[in-house]
Structures are given as structure tokens and as C-alpha cells.
């Protein structure tokens, strides 16, 4: 027992010494209060044991009495030790929390239940730009203002005081930081007795997060828009097993399935329903595997009511970063309309080819060769083949100069070259073509086609030219006759002014040829004679009797007076009006005076007659004896003088010719009539003659018949050919279904053919009598003014042809379209148009087709524009813009959107959302009746139809009375209503009013407008879905940030665990190893901290990160901090988490090494860390110090240092880079690696990128 006592005393003594040593070395962490209590405890226990020992030793028991009193103090001191230790612990924790609050970047404040600030942290003061005195002790009202406090804060504050945790997001305009977005949290502060003593207000600056969220929303919206926007291309994506995972709206429309129906199912299931052979898909997939894509086409009947559609498809592989196929994407486009248009084009081409072959004019198509110096035949039509006597196959591909050797001299080749070069159409006038084989007249019109080919339309003018030539010759003969005849022939106008006089006439009066032209015939008469002749002429003009010869005297130029017989003949205009006279003057005085002279004259007459090419003979009118025959007769029939005319000049006549003209030559008084001109085909030689027969007095005074017969055989034949041509042309016109007209511009007469009348539904007889009024009656009033203008332009020569597309009223009441084309065919001498002819071609079908095409184009444009507006929309639907673009295209007076919504009674209501009105149509958007309209009450029939997805199209007059009560006041005559459906849910409708006519919308229009309604429905669906996605994304981001936060916290826990472990470790090396590990974990922990504190959850700013690591390391090497400087240059580089962690660890190892070994003793130095990105994605990290350098021959991977082994492994394995060490004036580590191109490889980012 004594030993026990001594042991206790020794123990306490040892404790006392330990206490004293510990106090002096300051290795303990106790406050002075606790230390003093422990000291007193030790002193008292020593005293206690000392008294016991002294008592036991029998030295003295005095101390025992005192000790009894002190004994009570020992447990008391023990308790005080416990109490002071607990108090000290509380103070430490409080201090630690204060430091935490002070160091956080969140704005924190504590506000009491009286709304007065108790304390605020440093971040709060910095953000508000105030000192603690300016805030602490002041109420919220004083700092924020009464309005802000009552409006925004009080309610939340009171809820928090009631124990509820309140969180919200707020915008706040800080004096120093400007406008920032904050996440604010009110946390009730519970006192130790469990009562709420105030509110801890913490707010976090999430401005960067807010901007990132907005950017993320915009990008997500854009991506969604792109995927859902393609209205003409169906997009379907599948996985490797052809299981569908995306199906855009265009695909829904094209294949007739909704995305919900197909997503998750395989493509093969749908191919089976479309009867597509499985082998086709296998072939396509094989092609995709080999080449990456495959194009093919399909004919599908999707059952959507569009019949069999022709689909062009492209199948492409979806590749991952390694180049392996991970799925397929299919792009399909409906090209049915395009195919139909191509077929129509081919039919049109065939029609034009038929026309080409059936036209009566020759048509040849040429293609330029040798740069336009020559041309080869491409094709010629049937008419051309007939004219040239060749077939199209014979000359196709041959040069025109080879086929027609005379074409250069013909001048046609130059025309071809000019037209080919300039593109300006040109006419080649009627010209004679000659080569060594053929000769004919041709007239060509040459045009250039858009394809570059040249077309020549030509006609054969040979017959007409021959006819004109013959007529010209005949006219010359007449002129010669007139000029050579001995009688004076004079032509005077109605005033007696000579307009023509032959040589004989001038000679008769002694004047030179032409001298009397323009002079009055009365000038050659004495006054009395002139008066008598004037009266005679006046009588002829006024009474127009059969003119009788006038006998009188004329005074010649030399004053000689002669007796003359003047035979008058009227000269009339086409209308029969007398415009002058032609007179034959005969000097009868001379015949009277000298028979010899008469004979001589006769001889001259014979000479003249003989000189004529025409047949001239004279026969007795009674006996038919030939008294004279000119040389031409004699040449053809021999000397027939004295013979009987019908015997010697004709063949097969047994009596006077039945066509003898004798009875026509004399009037009933037996006096000569006017010359009788007639045409006759000779019975002997079969040739045609124009005969001019007249009774004249013969030498012996008897009346004889003189006949001057001009050979007109060639002209006659030409005329007959002309008649044949004309008839053929008429037949062609009849065959081509072309209406013709001929307009006498002078008289206003109009000639039409049967087809002209048939085009407007009448027969020609029904339109008779045909006048210009017939045209004006049936033409569209608006077109008449334009027609007049075009005609004026043609008459003035500005237009070569008159051509106009005019509307005419058909018998059935419709307006039809014709091409009215014509040309003046006859002009007056003074250049006025006299006769015009032209054609009517019915182009109604073409016009209707054009109008349909224009209408469809308008619809397509409207659809396209409205779809673009919907695609560009984000967050909300721009209804008004949508209607502004669709309305004008829809042929509607008014277009509007109604949306369904529930009523207060549980019934379904509809309200107008937006409206577009055509010009002059009254808007109804402000009509109160069109808001909160009940289906049940007013439009039950509409609900029945629309909610099934069907549309309403009809005349309002046919609608039930109840519906008309709403529609009639809006002046709606016809209406089209198309439902807006989302996944079979009827959400509203788009409507189209026709307030101009009661015409309904046809099937094609309905299809277009249904498409627009479908686009709108999809846009509404997309906007709704996007809102859901945005909310989901925000939640995920918060979750990810929380995960980073927890990872960081967990790492801090690991650090703390290592801390605990370290306390139990005494081995310095082991302790160092644990501390090294703690630092490494700290480096990784900083990455996660940086991620959840930054706005970007995927990348880390290397500048801040590396600076943080350096700061951490330097704090551990306090001694070195003063003598070693450092610099971080990260050049704004950001890296992914998978790259940032190894870079941080490598930096940590190398810098720690430098601190440990590069600067032994008091050596001063500098450590620099540089990281930068080189072109090509190479990132270089340089860690350099100017210390003592590495030992020579150090092998990094084999180095004994764990740190360097870690560095080597991280660089080689994790970063896949290289490491290089330079040992010059210190040590420089250069680490290079390729920056990851695709951050999707980062496992930490898979969740995020996958969710986007």
C-alpha cells in the first residue's frame, strides 16, 4: 500500500514535470485559463500525497488536517479542467465558423427577428461597397428602403421566422458590380432553446450561371429548331439495329406515323407494312458500310390519302469518333410533284413536235458548227421534206453548205450566222436560190431558240414569182402598144388636165413627148371649140352617157389647125366614180384628104401590129373573114388573111365559135361598144390568152372586129396554183383549229371562219351578220383599250406583228383566253393600213394551268415564309407574323387563329388570338363575341368535326342558322376551318374567310393550308416541349454542381481521415507520405471546387487552378516562401477535367520537388509555371526553377522518387504526352500533350453532353 502511495506521488510528480516542460516548450494548445487550473490541480494532489506520505512515515500529521480541506478542492479542480476545456473547444469552433463565413464568396448576413442586421461577412460588404458599421445595427428598411422591404423581403422573412427555409432567384443592381443574378436563401437560425432567433441570409452570385443557362437554352432551341424545322425533308435516325430513335415532323407527314408511334420500333416493321423487300434495306446498309451513304428511291403508298408517292431517300451512317458506325440516319424527300411536272413537260414537248410536223411552211432546225461559220441540219419538218424532196434522216447531221451548195450566194447563210450570233430574229426576203440542180424562190424567217439552235421557217415563192413576172411582161406589152400606137391616146383628169399622153398624141399636136403632161387639154382648142368640148365633157360627167366620138379642130403648136375625132372613155375609181377620161385622138382631116396617106397609115398600123408579141387580127363581123393578121398570127397559123376566122384560127369548129364576141362589140344601135376584154383558152394550142375585142371601122368604113390576144398562159397557171395554195392554207388552218379573221380597215368589214366562232361556243351563222361589233361584243372590256394600243403600234410600224392575249366571253358565260395575232396585208399608197388578217388560238387551258401554277407558287411561298417564321421562333409562337405571311398566299379575305381553353363552368371555350385581314376587309380581332365563345352553345357541330381532325369547308349560306348568327355579321360568304392538333388533342383552329365570293377552297388549296396548320401545331408542340426540356436541364445542372460539391467535400473528408491517421504515425517518412497524399488529394479536390464554383461545368481555367495549387504548396513551405518567388502564366487556357487533374498533379509534384530540393539552405530562387496551347492543339506545360538542378544521369521513369514516377505515369498514360527535362541553370520540365478534341471523351462530361 505504501508502494501504491509512493507510485501515485511519483506519477503526479512526473505529471508536474511534464506540465512544466510542456508549458515552456509551448507545444500544447491549451489556453492559459486551463493551464492554471491544471497547475493548481497538480499542486494540490502533490500536497495530498505529501501529507499522506509524511503521515505514513510518522513525521507529522499536521498536513493531514489541512489536506482534508483541500481534498474537496481536487474534484472541483478536475471539473474546472473539464469545463475550461469544453469552453475552449467552443471558442475554437466559433472562430473557425467565423473564418469560414468570412472567407466564402457568398454574401452572408445574419438578421435578427427585429429585421436588424446583426452581422455580415466580407463578401457582402464588398458587393454592397459598404463598411460593417454602415450595415450592422441598421434595419433592412433603412438599407433597402420601405418599398423593397415590404414588397419583396418581408413576406419571405416572416415565413423564415416561422421556421420555413425560403429560396428564390433575384436580380440585384450592386453599386460596384452592376446588375447581377443571385440565388438567395433564408435559413432560420434556431437558438439553443430551439426558438428562431433570426435569419441567416445567404446569396450566391449566379450571373455567369444565368448567362450560361440562357446560352444553353438558345443553343438547345436552335438544335431543336433545326431538327424539327425541315418541312420538306423527313429525317429518321436509328441505332445500329435499325431501331428508330428520332422521327421529325416532316417524317411524320411523309410516312403517316407520329413520332410516338415509331420511336422504339424497328425500320423493318414499317418496311413490311409498306411492302418494301427486306433485301433492299440489306443492300442499302451494305452500301452505307462500304461508302458511308446510299441513295435510292421508293414508291410508297403511305395510306395518308396522297396515293402512291415517289420518295427519294439517302441513308447515311452515324459514326463515332473512332469511325465506327453507331447508327443510321435516313433523309427522305417526296418528289412526286416534280416527277409529274417532268411528265407534263414531256407531253408538252410531244405536242410541239406534232405541230412542228403539221405546219404547212417548211421548218428547219440548224445547229452551229465551226464557231458559227457553218450549220448542220438537226431536223426538218414534213413540209420541208416535201419541198426539198429529201427526208429528215438524209440530211440530219449534214452541213447546210454540203446539202445546198448555192446557199452562200442565196444570202441565207449570212442570215443564219447573224441570227445565231445576235439572237435577233431576221427575215430573209424572197430570193432566188440556184445551184447546179435546182432553182426556186424562197422566203425565210430565222429565229434563235433558247437552246442555241437556229430555226428557219420558209415558204416556196416560186409559183407566185413566176406569175408576177408574166404579169409584168404583159403590162410592158400593153405599155408598148400604147406607146407605139399611131392614135393619140390621152388621159385627162376631170378638169381636163392631161395626166398621160402617148407619143402619137404629142406628135399629133406637134409637141415633144411629155410636153403636154400637166397642161389643160383646152389649151389646144380655139375658144369656141374649147367651150363646145367643155360642154361635152360636162355632159359626160353629169349624165355619164355612153360616150360618142367627138369631132372638132385642134390647133397644133405651129398654129396649124387639124380635124380630129376623139373617142372618149371613162376613167373610174374603184367605187365607180368618174375620175377622168381616156381619149383616143384621130386626125381625120388627113384621112379625108389623102387616101394614100391612109394606106400609108394602114401600113404603119400593120407594122406596129406586126411588132407586137400579141396576136392581132381583124375579121369581118358578118362574114368572119380575116381581113388582117399580124406577124405573130402568121407565124403561128400561117397566112390566114382571107380565111374564115373560126376555121383558120380555131380547131374543130363547124360554125362561128360559140364564144364569138361579135354580138358584144356593138350596141343595139349597131355602134361599137367599149372594148371587150376576156380570157380564152385556145382550142388549137391550148394556151390561155387575154383577148381585147373591139369593133372598129375598117379602111372601107365597115365595122370590123379587131382582136388583140395576149398570151397569159403562165400567169393563168400561176393564178391557178395560187388558188390551190390558198385552199390548202385554209385546209391547214381548219386542221390546226385556228380561228381566222380578215378585217377591211377602210370599210370595217370583218370576215371570220367557223373556228373563230367555235372558240367562243357559237357557229358562224349564229354570229351573222359579222362586223367589228361582233369582236367588241365578245372581247373583255378591259382588253379593248390595250388591243387598240397594240394595233396603233403595229400600224405605226413599231411592231412587226400585232399580237395580244385577250379574254373573250364564251357562250357558257366563262371568260376564255385567245392569242389574237395578225398583220396588215395591204397598205395604201400613202402608207395607211387597208387590209389586215390574223388568227385566234384558244389558250384557255394553258392560261388556267399558268394561273394554277402561279397560285400554287404563291401558296408554296406563303407556306415557306410562314414555316420560316415558326422555325425562327423560340419561347413563344409569333401568331401575328405567321398570319401576315400566310394570309396573302391563302386567297382569303381574313385569316385568324382561335385557341381552345377551359371555361369556368368546365365547358370548352375558344378565343381569337390573332388575325390578318386583306385590304378593305374589316378586322374582327376586337369583336367581343369572338372571345370566350362556347362550343356547346354556339358551335357544337364544329366541335364534332374539328376534334376528330377533320376540316370545315363550305358556303356560309349552307350552314345552320345558329352558326350563321355569328358568321353573317362578319360578311363571310365562304369559310375554311382547319383544326390544330397535338397528338390527337384538339387545341384550336386556323380559319380562312372569303368575304368577296362564296367560292370554296379546292382540294389542293386545302392540302396546302392543312400543311400550314400542321406546321403551326408542331411549332406549338415544340415550344411546349422546349419549356419542359429547359426546366429539366436546369435541374440536371444544379444536380451536377451538387455532385461536384459533394465529391470535393468527400475528398476533404479523406484528407481529414488522413490527418487522423497522421496523428498516430510517428515515422517521419510515413508522415511525409501521408502529407504528400493529402496535397495530391487537395489538388484533385480543387478541380471539383473550381467546377462547381465556375459557370462552366466542363472546363477549368488553368490560371486560377494552378495559382491555387502554388498558393497551397507555398503555404506549407513557410521558410521558403520568403526567399523563393513564383510565377504562373497560363495564358487564359482552359482544359477539360480529364486533362486538368493530371496537369495539376504533375505541377504539384514538380513544384513540391523544387521547394524541397532545388534551393538547399538559404538559397534564394524563382519557380515559374507556364502553360500554353500551340497551334495544332499541342499543350505545353513548363515547370522551371533556377535552383541547383537535378543530379546528372537522372532517369525520370526509373527515378527512386515516387513524385517523379507519378509525374512520368500521369504524362505518359493519362495525358498520352511526352516529358523532357533540361538541366541548365536549374531544372526545366517540359511536358507536351495533345488537347482532347472531343470533350465527350471526358467521362465526367458524359452525363451533361448526353442530356443536352
Amino acid at each position: 500500500m505504501n508502494l501504491v502511495l509512493i507510485l501515485s506521488a511519483i506519477s503526479m510528480l512526473a505529471a508536474f514535470f511534464a506540465f512544466v516542460v510542456g508549458w515552456r516548450s509551448r507545444k500544447h494548445k491549451l489556453h492559459s485559463e486551463a493551464r492554471w487550473i491544471v497547475l493548481w490541480f497538480l499542486v494540490l494532489t502533490q500536497f495530498h500525497y505529501l501529507s499522506d506520505i509524511l503521515e505514513w512515515a510518522g513525521i507529522t500529521d499536521v498536513l493531514s488536517d489541512i489536506e482534508d480541506y483541500f481534498e474537496v478542492l481536487i474534484p472541483l479542480l478536475l471539473f474546472l479542467i473539464i469545463y475550461s476545456l469544453l469552453k475552449e473547444q467552443s471558442e475554437k469552433k466559433l472562430h473557425m465558423f467565423k473564418q469560414l463565413v468570412s472567407s466564402t464568396s457568398d454574401h452572408m448576413s445574419f438578421v435578427g427577428y427585429d429585421y436588424v442586421y446583426r452581422t455580415v461577412n466580407k463578401a457582402y460588404l464588398t458587393a454592397h461597397g459598404k463598411t460593417s458599421d454602415m450595415i450592422v445595427g441598421h434595419s433592412i428598411t433603412e438599407l433597402m428602403g420601405e418599398d423593397v422591404f415590404t414588397g419583396k423581403i418581408k413576406d419571405r422573412f416572416d415565413r423564415c421566422l416561422a421556421g420555413e427555409k425560403v429560396q428564390y432567384r433575384e436580380r440585384f443592381n450592386f453599386p460596384n458590380l452592376g446588375l447581377r443574378y443571385l440565388d438567395v436563401a433564408y435559413q432560420p437560425y434556431f437558438s439553443e432553446i430551439g426558438e428562431v432567433a433570426g435569419v441567416v441570409v445567404s446569396s450566391r452570385d449566379i450571373t455567369d450561371l444565368h448567362h450560361s443557362e440562357r446560352e444553353l437554352d438558345e443553343k438547345t432551341s436552335l438544335l431543336k429548331s433545326v431538327l424539327h424545322s425541315t418541312t420538306d425533308t423527313a429525317i429518321v435516325t436509328t441505332d445500329l439495329n435499325m431501331r428508330i430513335n428520332f422521327f421529325n415532323p416532316a417524317a411524320e407527314k411523309l410516312f403517316g406515323f407520329t413520332a410516338d408511334e415509331v420511336v422504339g420500333r424497328t425500320v423493318m416493321e414499317f418496311h413490311k407494312s409498306f411492302s418494301v423487300a427486306p433485301e433492299r434495306l440489306e443492300e442499302a446498309l451494305e452500301t452505307v458500310r462500304n461508302t458511308g451513304q446510299c441513295d435510292y428511291s421508293l414508291d410508297l403508298d403511305t395510306g395518308a390519302g396522297f396515293g402512291v408517292r415517289h420518295i427519294e431517300c439517302r441513308l447515311e451512317g452515324i459514326f463515332n469518333s473512332k469511325g465506327d458506325i453507331v447508327g443510321y440516319s435516313k433523309f427522305a424527300r417526296d418528289v412526286t410533284e416534280r416527277r409529274q411536272m417532268e411528265m407534263k413537260l414531256r407531253e408538252s414537248e410531244q405536242r410541239f413536235h406534232a405541230l412542228f410536223d403539221e405546219i404547212s411552211d417548211g421548218v428547219a432546225v440548224y445547229e452551229a458548227v465551226d464557231d458559227g461559220s457553218d450549220f448542220v441540219f438537226v431536223d426538218i419538218n414534213s413540209a420541208a421534206q416535201k419541198m426539198e424532196g429529201v427526208s429528215s434522216e438524209d440530211i440530219a447531221g449534214h452541213k447546210v453548205t454540203d446539202v445546198f451548195s448555192g446557199v452562200e450566194q442565196f444570202g441565207f447563210l449570212d442570215v443564219l450566222r447573224r441570227v445565231w450570233k445576235t439572237g435577233v430574229s431576221e427575215d430573209h426576203p424572197v430570193s432566188l436560190y440556184e445551184d447546179d440542180k435546182v432553182s426556186y424562190w424562197r422566203k425565210n424567217s430565222v429565229y434563235k431558240l433558247p437552246s442555241g439552235e437556229v430555226v428557219a421557217v420558209y415558204s416556196d415563192e416560186t409559183s407566185r414569182r413566176q406569175s408576177e413576172e408574166a404579169m409584168r411582161k404583159s403590162e410592158e406589152n400593153y405599155r408598148l402598144l400604147v406607146e407605139t400606137i399611131t392614135s393619140g391616146i390621152q388621159e385627162v383628169d376631170i378638169n381636163g388636165v392631161t395626166v398621160f399622153g402617148n407619143q402619137a398624141y404629142h406628135r399629133l399636136l406637134g409637141y415633144g413627148n411629155g410636153k403636154l403632161i400637166g397642161r389643160s387639154m383646152y389649151d389646144q382648142l380655139e375658144k369656141d371649140e374649147a367651150k363646145r368640148l367643155y360642154d361635152h365633157i360636162k355632159l359626160l360627167i353629169e349624165q355619164q352617157p355612153e360616150p360618142e366620138p367627138w369631132f372638132g379642130t385642134l390647133t397644133k403648136k405651129d398654129g396649124t389647125v387639124i380635124d380630129v375625132q376623139t373617142d372618149w372613155n371613162y376613167k373610174r375609181s374603184k367605187s365607180g366614180e368618174v375620175t377622168g377620161f381616156i381619149s383616143v385622138l384621130t386626125d381625120v382631116s388627113q384621112s379625108k384628104r389623102d387616101e394614100e396617106k391612109l394606106k400609108a397609115e394602114h401600113a404603119r398600123f400593120v407594122t406596129v401590129m406586126d411588132s407586137l408579141d400579141a396576136i392581132v387580127y381583124v375579121a369581118d363581123m358578118q362574114t368572119h373573114e380575116v381581113l388582117f393578121a399580124n406577124k405573130t398570127v402568121r407565124k403561128q397559123c400561117g397566112d390566114v388573111t382571107g380565111g374564115i376566122c373560126w376555121q383558120v384560127l380555131q380547131v374543130g369548129q363547124t360554125e362561128p365559135c360559140p364564144f364569138c364576141t361579135n354580138n358584144r362589140l356593138l350596141d343595139k344601135n349597131g355602134k361599137p361598144n367599149e372594148p371587150y376584154v376576156w380570157e380564152f383558152q385556145n382550142t388549137d394550142n391550148g394556151r390561155w390568152y387575154q383577148c381585147r375585142d373591139q369593133a372598129i371601122p375598117w379602111l372601107d368604113g365597115r365595122l370590123v372586129r379587131i382582136e388583140i390576144a395576149t398570151d397569159i398562159n403562165d400567169r393563168k397557171l400561176a393564178e391557178e396554183a395560187l388558188v390551190v395554195d390558198k385552199r390548202r392554207l385554209a385546209d391547214i388552218l381548219q386542221g390546226t383549229n385556228v380561228g381566222t379573221w380578215e378585217w377591211n380597215i377602210i370599210t370595217g368589214e370583218l370576215l371570220l371562219n367557223e373556228r373563230w366562232a367555235g372558240i367562243i361556243g357559237y357557229t358562224l351563222q349564229e354570229l351573222s351578220p359579222v362586223t367589228m361589233d361582233t369582236w367588241t361584243k365578245f372581247a373583255h372590256p378591259e382588253d379593248l383599250a390595250k388591243v387598240d394600243e397594240m394595233l396603233e403600234n403595229h400600224f405605226s410600224g413599231e411592231l412587226e406583228y400585232y399580237m395580244f392575249e385577250a379574254r373573250m366571253k364564251h357562250r357558257n358565260g366563262n371568260w376564255i383566253w385567245v392569242v389574237d395575232r395578225g398583220k396588215v396585208s395591204k397598205w395604201s399608197d400613202d402608207g395607211r393600213p387597208m387590209l389586215m388578217s390574223g388568227t385566234h388560238i384558244d389558250i384557255t387551258e394553258r392560261k388556267l394551268a399558268e394561273e394554277e401554277v402561279i397560285k400554287r407558287e404563291r401558296y408554296l411561298n406563303g407556306l415557306n415564309e410562314s414555316a420560316q417564321i415558326l422555325l425562327a421562333s423560340a419561347g413563344s409562337i409569333p401568331f401575328q407574323k405567321f398570319l401576315d405571311s400566310l394570309g396573302p398566299a391563302a386567297s382569303a379575305s381574313r385569316t385568324y387563329i382561335f385557341m381552345n381553353h377551359p371555361g369556368t363552368q368546365g365547358d370548352l371555350l375558344l378565343s381569337q388570338k390573332a388575325e390578318w385581314c386583306a385590304l378593305g376587309i374589316a378586322p374582327e380581332i376586337d369583336n367581343p363575341l369572338l372571345q370566350d365563345l362556347s362550343y356547346d352553345k354556339w358551335l357544337p357541330r364544329w366541335w364534332d368535326i374539328l376534334h376528330k381532325g377533320d376540316l370545315i369547308n363550305g358556303r356560309v349560306a349552307d350552314f345552320p342558322e345558329m352558326e350563321r348568327e355569328i358568321l353573317d355579321p362578319q360578311n363571310i360568304l365562304a369559310i375554311l376551318v382547319i383544326p390544330l392538333m397535338i397528338d390527337d388533342e384538339f387545341i384550336g383552329f386556323i380559319g380562312f374567310d372569303n368575304c368577296v365570293s362564296d367560292q370554296e377552297w379546292n382540294d389542293v388549296e386545302q392540302t396546302f393550308l392543312r400543311t400550314a396548320a400542321g406546321d403551326l401545331s408542331q411549332a406549338i408542340r415544340r415550344v411546349r416541349a422546349e419549356k419542359k426540356v429547359r426546366i429539366s436541364l436546369r435541374e440536371k445542372e444544379v444536380l451536377l454542381r451538387e455532385i461536384h460539391h459533394r465529391v470535393k467535400n468527400n475528398m476533404q473528408v479523406v484528407t481529414s481521415l488522413l490527418n487522423l491517421q497522421a496523428r498516430k504515425v510517428t515515422d517521419v517518412k510515413a508522415l511525409d507520405a501521408i502529407q504528400e497524399s493529402q496535397r495530391r488529394i487537395g489538388v484533385i479536390s480543387q478541380v471539383h471546387e473550381a467546377l462547381y464554383l465556375s459557370g462552366d461545368l466542363s472546363r477549368i481555367s488553368m490560371d486560377k487552378y494552378l495559382t491555387g495549387i502554388l498558393r497551397e504548396i507555398t503555404s506549407l513551405y513557410l521558410d521558403a516562401e520568403d526567399s523563393i518567388g513564383y510565377l504562373v502564366d497560363a495564358d487564359d487556357l482552359v482544359l477539360s477535367i480529364s486533362e486538368a487533374i493530371p496537369v495539376g498533379l504533375v505541377t504539384n509534384e514538380l513544384v513540391t520537388n523544387a521547394f524541397k530540393h532545388a534551393f538547399p539552405g538559404d538559397r534564394k530562387g524563382f519557380i515559374s509555371i507556364t502553360i500554353r496551347k500551340h497551334p495544332g492543339g499541342i499543350v505545353e506545360l513548363l515547370v522551371a526553377d533556377d535552383g541547383v538542378g537535378m543530379p546528372d544521369g537522372l532517369d525520370i521513369d526509373g527515378a527512386g522518387s515516387l513524385g517523379l514516377q507519378i509525374v512520368y505515369s500521369l504524362v505518359k498514360i493519362q495525358l498520352g504526352g511526352s516529358i523532357e527535362v533540361t538541366n541548365h541553370k536549374g531544372t526545366t520540365f517540359s511536358i507536351k500533350f495533345n488537347q482532347s478534341k472531343d470533350q465527350k471523351h471526358d467521362p465526367m462530361l458524359q452525363g451533361i453532353t448526353g442530356s443536352r
Binding site: M1, A18, E71, L85
Partner: protein, 92 residues
Amino acid sequence: MIQENQLLTLLLVAGFWFFIIFNRKRMADLQESGLFLAAFGALSAGWLLTTLEELFLADILNTIEHVSFSVGSILFALWVLRVFSGKKEASE
């Protein structure tokens, strides 16, 4: 015979143990708390036995009492040695 100071000591110790049990969670965080409580427990046993030896089994209980004081002293000495040598830090 039981002395007044012994009873007073016993009462104080009992009160302190209530305090310790009440604050046991905070106690666990104290530096070397296990050693300290063991020392306090041994000393408490000593004080208790000091009183009890006056009632019965005087020799045995007296022996145990001194052993208890001795153990408590040794444990306390160890606590002082550990805390004041600064080898371990208080848990956070």
C-alpha cells in the same frame, strides 16, 4: 466515521459525473478525453471508497482506494504528458 468533507466530495463528484454524461458528445471531441475520463473515473472510485471504508471492509476498501488513487494519478500524469508534449492535436 464518515467525515463531512468526504460526503461533500462525493456529492461534488456525483454532480460532475451528471455534467459529464450530459455533455458526453462534446466531451468526446476533447483532446485525449478517454484518458482524462479514465483518470477522473479512477479518482472518483478512490473518493467513493474513502467513504465506504468507513462503513465496512475497512482494510480491503482502503487498499482498493489507494490503488484507485494511484491508477488515477498515473492516468492523469499520462494525460498531462500527452497534452503538454503537443504530439497530437485536438480533433476538428
